[in-house]
């Protein structure tokens, strides 16, 4: 039986009719058209689906939508609400950290959380923070460089 729940996403409240088993990933992509959040595996292995839940990076494919009713959710679309790239997004473009781009949104969400809590992270902290996000194109080299660039004072 579907239930209607309020989801607080990027500052908006969406009332969505949800199957109990529906993941947050599925609701974002299929109900709300928030397609920046990507499905790479649907099993907690790739990080393409990373969003922020109350400011913490989580895999939306491993999160039931029902469980997060009323909590603060931020997706990639929420990072540039005024249509301008935020500092980290701009650094990804500038550093050449985007290749196919399929991992990019999840990667940025993971890195953004790090920057939200650590102003100038070390290389090791950066690598740890994105260790749950797979990228197959870049070798992470320019991704790490982009995160450093965004955290430079």
């Amino acid at each position: 039986m579907k239930q209607i729940v309020p989801l607080h996403i990027n500052g908006d409240i969406h009332e969505v009719a949800i199957e109990p088993g529906a993941t947050l990933l599925r609701v974002l992509r299929e109900h709300l058209g928030l397609i920046g959040t990507k499905r790479g595996c649907d099993s907690g292995g790739c990080g393409c689906c990373t969003v922020h839940l109350d400011g913490k990076a989580v895999y939306s494919c491993m999160t039931f939508a029902l469980q997060v009713a009323g909590r603060k959710i931020t997706t990639i679309e929420g990072l540039s609400p005024d249509g301008r790239l935020n500092r980290l997004q701009d650094a990804f473009v500038e550093a050449g950290a985007v290749q196919c781009g399929y991992c990019t949104c999840g990667m940025i969400m993971a890195a953004q959380q790090l920057l939200d809590v650590t102003q100038t992270p070390t290389e090791e902290e950066i690598r740890r923070a994105i260790a749950g996000n797979l990228c197959r194109c870049t070798g992470y080299h320019k991704i790490v460089a982009a995160i450093k660039l965004a955290s430079a004072p």
Binding site: S43, C48, L85, V93, C100, G101, Y102, G139, H141, K142
Partner: protein, 776 residues
């Protein structure tokens, strides 16, 4: 002054803006009104015959719109490879869309379209299949034995093909040798791990015309194979190019089951049908072929090759598909033509097994060959007490030599020696100790390997598509639209091709936009594969842009009352050579060409002439003029923990000759990603299967380990030796594949340097290191 205004600069990728804010352009995002969702039922058995299928309960489930079983689909045999003509004699056509004969665990047996993915999934459980299980065989050498289960009815001893290559007199070559080295080198099955799943949406109209959106590396290949399998005219199928796809690395060079099944389901329901793989399905769809390579090599004391023999056994899996093709590319480019040697022979065996299908993966047979050849060279050097760099330089081809395989070409740009020397300098080769040294449990070593010969396209290879085409159209605001069928799977050609067009047109890189394309509107193109796009598509884009520029100068000549031959265009300004004050902007010229009788300008209305009229546009469709070889040397430093057997790659220096570098940042990105895939291949990646059932047991990213940011070295240095390839666009050659062929042998050689352990079968796990150290 720089030679080029646009080429050679790391301009920002225009598609990156979209990708950092949500990546709307991926095929996975395509939805259409009224769209149905389809899923496939797959066989749990690796070898079986279907006695009967009853789908009536599934058909009755509310929301189910159509079900397909083997009896509902064409039983036409086909080969799924996009890059060769379907009717090619070289291809073994033995796959059918849905068959009653099951040859691998996971082979699709039925498909369902329903109003939601959940209903489609639920319907699969209601399909009743009665299987007669047959004995399966998974090991290629067992499969070749008399009495082994028969997989293909037409292949005796399950052998699909046994090609050979030979030159000179092998026995005489071995007689001339001072020493002979032998070894067998094995590689495992690995997956490309593109991040965007295989997905398609197929729509049909009332006349049966199909429109297809898919995550593939070749829109024309998809059109051709679909038309063939469905026995429909190509003109009735339009494949739409996605602005970009989420990786491919070779895996998206085949028709897989989803596209024809979605097409049939759409034709049956008259609704758009979407089909997307689960990650498990992606893992079992195609993978790099495991190979076993036996090498016997004769050398003089001074390190000169006298004779080289190789035998390769390829596990092609349940159907021939790529096996008979990949083995040839493997043999030619990673063994037979890699170094100079007068006497050589190679034998190949392509074997059917009840394993999943092999597929294309960046390097297409080269990583397996490079693993064997470059590992053995290290062993030879150790045996001869010779420097591995000196050995390679002694046997390498030289710039200006005839192409060792494609006799119509020469190695006009070929700087392997510079790659070796400059890479050695950066890694500090001369300080490397030749024998295992150091104390304690953490030992460091440095290794090297090369990739001497590869392709920048396909010209000269008889059956592989090679064309490229482009349309360049100038806009009235002074910008240009570039349309080509070439797909950007992350390699950056949305940027580099625009740079090539911009350079040729004399406008800024940002002024060229990669625009819409589908199979109805742009010239035929070969796939994005074989390291060919920068070179082959680059040449086509340059030709189209050149044609547009000629027309631009003609119109400008009319406007300036000058001879077009006396004009030049640079940085968006058309001017008389030597008199830069007599000029027009590109925008003014293009506006004039598209104006009515009177053109409104800042200086008032101006009357136009008939001669000036018509959009300024250039079109090309051509085969590239050559197949120049990139080449590379890679140096790695590793740390081996002698207690745990763990290997850490500390530093990588990769030196390439790829001709002129169009976009350095994009080229570095290719190298860095290739190194990652190579480290995965070397140390951890391995698709594994239950030995009893043949079912994949590494079907998600928790079980299939690939390098994360933590496992990657912080130091990856790319050196580009800029040669000037005379046939390349602005001197460029290909790059992509050589980036990932070398890491595995370079790492193995570094491990040997560190701890004296030689591992000949991939991946190099801690267990193998400990066994080599006598600790297991």
């Amino acid at each position: 002054m720089a030679k080029f205004d646009v080429v050679g600069h790391s301009v920002r990728r225009p598609d990156a803006y979209d990708k950092v804010t949500g990546g709307r352009g991926f095929p996975v995002n395509v939805t259409l009104p009224g769209m149905l969702h389809a899923r496939m039922l797959r066989s749990p058995y690796a070898h079986a015959r279907i006695r009967s299928i009853n789908a009536s309960a599934a058909e009755k489930l509310a929301g189910v719109k159509a079900v397909l079983t083997p009896g509902d689909v064409p039983q036409k045999k086909f080969s799924p490879l996009f890059f060769m003509p379907t009717e090619s004699n070289e291809l073994i056509r033995d796959l059918v869309l849905l068959s009653e004969n099951i040859r691998y665990a996971g082979q699709p047996v039925a498909a369902v379209a329903a109003s939601t993915p959940d209903i489609a999934e639920a319907a699969l459980d209601l399909i009743d299949v009665d299987y007669e299980e047959l004995t399966a065989v998974f090991d290629p050498e067992e499969a070749m034995q008399p009495g082994a289960p028969r997989i293909s009815p037409t292949a005796a001893n399950n052998i699909a093909r046994t090609p050979t290559l030979s030159r000179g007199d092998l026995e005489a070559g071995f007689r001339e040798a001072d020493e002979i080295f032998e070894g067998t080198y094995c590689t495992q099955r690995v997956h490309t791990c593109y991040m965007e799943p295989r997905v398609c949406v197929v729509d049909s109209d009332m006349q049966g015309n199909l429109t297809v959106y898919a995550s593939v590396q070749h829109i024309f290949g998809l059109r051709e194979k679909l038309a063939y399998v469905l026995s429909r005219p190509e003109s009735g199928i339009k494949v739409v190019k996605s602005p970009y796809i989420g990786g491919g690395f070779g895996s998206k060079l085949d028709l897989v089951y989803i596209e024809p099944l979605a097409a049939l389901l759409s034709l049956k329901t008259r609704r758009p049908v979407r089909m997307e793989h689960t990650r498990y399905e992606d893992f079992i769809t195609n993978a790099r072929h495991p190979m076993k390579v036996y090498l016997k090599t004769g050398v003089k004391k001074d390190g000169t090759f006298t004779a080289r023999y190789a035998k390769t056994i390829v596990d092609t899996g349940a159907y021939a598909t790529h096996g008979p093709e990949v083995i040839m590319v493997h043999a030619v480019f990673s063994f037979f033509s890699a170094y100079r040697c007068p006497h050589q022979k190679w034998d190949g065996v392509v074997v059917y097994t009840n394993n999943m299908l092999g597929g294309a993966f960046r390097g297409y047979g080269a990583p397996q060959g490079c693993w064997a050849v470059e590992s053995q060279i290290d062993e030879i050097c150790h045996g001869l007490k010779m420097d591995p760099l000196e050995f390679r330089l002694k046997n390498a081809h030289h710039e200006g030599d005839a192409h060792p395989f494609l006799k119509q070409f020469t190695l006009a740009s070929y700087r392997l020696a510079d790659c070796i020397n400059q890479g050695a300098e950066r890694i500090g080769w001369k300080n490397r100790s030749r024998t295992p040294s150091g104390a304690g449990t953490k030992r460091r070593g440095i290794g090297v390997a090369c990739h001497p010969l590869w392709v920048s396209g396909c010209v000269g290879l008889p059956d592989i598509y090679e064309h490229s085409g482009a349309i360049v159209k100038l806009n009235r605001d002074g910008t240009a639209d570039l349309a080509t069928a070439t797909i950007d799977m992350g390699t950056g050609q949305n940027t580099t091709l625009c740079q090539i067009a911009a350079e040729e047109l004399g406008i800024a890189a940002e002024s060229v936009r990669m625009s819409y394309a589908d199979t109805d509107t742009v010239p035929f193109d070969a796939p994005s594969h074989a390291s060919r796009v920068t070179y082959s598509a680059g040449n086509a884009v340059k030709a189209a842009a050149g044609e547009a520029r000629r027309r631009l100068l003609q119109v400008a000549g009319e406007m300036l009352e000058a001879d077009a031959a006396d004009l030049e265009v640079r940085k968006g300004i058309v001017q008389v050579k030597g008199s830069p004050d007599v000029n027009l902007t590109v925008a003014e010229v293009v506006s004039r060409a598209e104006s009515p009788l009177v053109q409104m300008t800042a200086a008032g209305p101006k009357v136009t002439t008939i001669k000036e009229k018509g959009s300024i546009i250039g079109v090309s469709s051509m085969a590239p003029p050559g197949n120049p070889s990139p080449c590379a040397a890679e140096f790695v430093e590793v740390e081996v923990d002698t207690e745990t057997g763990a290997v850490k790659v500390l530093r990588v220096v990769y030196a390439h000759d790829i001709g002129r570098v169009i976009n350095p940042a994009a080229a570095q990105g290719q190298v860095e990603g290739g190194v990652q895939q190579g480290i995965g291949y070397a140390l951890m990646e391995h698709l594994q299967f239950d030995p009893g059932t043949g079912a994949c047991v590494t079907g998600d990213f928790l079980d299939y380990k690939m390098p994360t940011a933590v496992e990657m070295p912080a130091e990856i240095e790319s050196i580009f030796i800029e040669s000037d390839e005379p046939t390349g666009p602005f001197g460029a050659k290909g790059l992509s594949e050589v980036c990932l062929t070398i890491p595995a042998p370079a790492i193995a050689n570094a491990i040997f340097n560190a701890v004296g352990v030689r591992v000949r079968d991939l991946p190099i796990t801690p267990e193998k290191i400990l066994a080599g150290l006598g600790k297991l």
